[in-house]
Amino acid sequence: MSKNHPNVDPYIVSRVRALESLLLEKGILDPEAVDRVIRQYENDTGPLIGARAVARAWVDPAYKRRLLEDSTAALAELGLDYDMLRVVENTPDVHNVVVCTLCSCYPWAVLGLPPTWYKAPAYRARAVIEPRAVLREFGLEVGAERELRVWDSSAELRYMVLPLRPTGSERLSEDALTPLISRDALIGVAEVSLPATVA
């Protein structure tokens, strides 16, 4: 589908370069800025900070409480200055999922760049009206006995899910847990599971 490979569209590229060159000339855009953005999102961020916060919450109940009640303080402990995050907790009785129907609000600072599907009309339209059907497409079955909470990010707060800790992971450390926590689990379209070799 062409819209998933927009890098080949010469019309868009020419529009971008036209604006880019004018803003460079006006001194609004720093010539190094584009390389900085690429470095930042290709190397420095990703779902890593969000995953680290969740892993720490799993092993440290006091940290978990801070993450749920005062995420700004909890993220500062991980070296991140970010005051917009609200963390919502999955339990055996409740599953949470995050969407932004009006644009594509997403906690970039803790999860990195949003995936294309998160920004696409299908997810934004459907996640609020048929979330269980959407989650099923992601391979996640949420039974009717479990409450499903959909968070539509309509203001300047950003939401992240604290997923359930997988059973059998009790002996794993924060460092061992962190890489198991996927971006999708932090959005709420997946659970965290143990790789076969650990289980």
Binding site: I12, R17, L29
Partner: protein, 228 residues
């Protein structure tokens, strides 16, 4: 505005299409757009609400058929022209230049020497403001959302207008997008997390045991008894 961007609850878009091992950017141009947005926000060329409203005014047919970062490009370009920072004719000439010379670096069209980047004001501010305003609602209060949809920018989605919910939490005092997007000031007011039963939004067709949470400004809400 009752725009094409307000997608919540629409049918007909088909399954959610996922891309395995998706790269951060699908082309260099996407990173350029992000860099342009960062620089523009840091220098306060426009605020977040003007930015969103710039996107909302895209041609609706094009909106649905274009990649996400083209939405940004379109909205940002619109704002630069409206604010008089970029001249539309000059931009059209640059577009023509690069269309003919796709390999030319962005600086190739620049005549004269590049001025040094100006001293930057501190980065764009967040949305939280301090105020002694007393929130009108408390957690647990039943509320109705307003049924009306203004022609300008608003963050009350169509699917949640004229609906009954209950206040889940108060998030403090936040900049009001409906005015801030239109140069009418920040007019900060209390922001609430409001919980809706899925049945209150979608009727009999709602999935079972589902609730939906929206962050809504005080002026979007009416006390349940007043709405009757």
């Amino acid at each position: 505005m009752n725009g094409v961007h307000d997608l919540g609850g629409m049918h007909g878009f088909g399954p959610v299409e996922r891309e395995e091992h998706e790269p951060p950017f699908h082309g260099h141009w996407e990173a350029v757009v992000v860099a342009i947005n960062n620089a523009s926000r840091a220098q306060r060329v426009f605020n977040i609400d003007e930015f969103r409203h710039g996107i909302e005014r895209m041609d609706p047919v094009h909106y649905l058929d274009s990649p996400y970062f083209e939405h940004w490009l379109d909205g940002i370009t619109r704002l630069y022209i409206e604010k008089g920072v970029v001249d539309a004719d000059e931009l059209a000439r640059r577009f023509a230049f690069f269309k003919e010379r796709p390999e030319a670096p962005a600086l190739a069209a620049v005549t004269g020497s590049l001025p040094p980047p100006g001293a930057r004001p501190p980065g764009a501010r967040g949305a939280v403001r301090t105020s002694d305003a007393t929130p009108r609602f408390a957690p647990g209060d039943p509320v109705y959302t307003r049924a009306s949809g203004p022609a300008g920018h608003t963050r009350l989605p169509r699917y949640a207008r004229g609906k009954r919910g209950s206040v889940h939490a108060c998030h403090g005092i936040h900049v009001f997008p409906d005015t801030n997007a239109h140069g009418r000031g920040e007019q900060p007011q209390p922001l609430y997390s409001v919980r809706f039963e899925a049945r209150a939004l979608w009727g009999e067709d709602a999935e079972p045991n589902q609730r939906l949470y929206l962050d809504l400004w005080e002026s979007y809400l009416l006390p349940a008894e007043e709405a009757r």
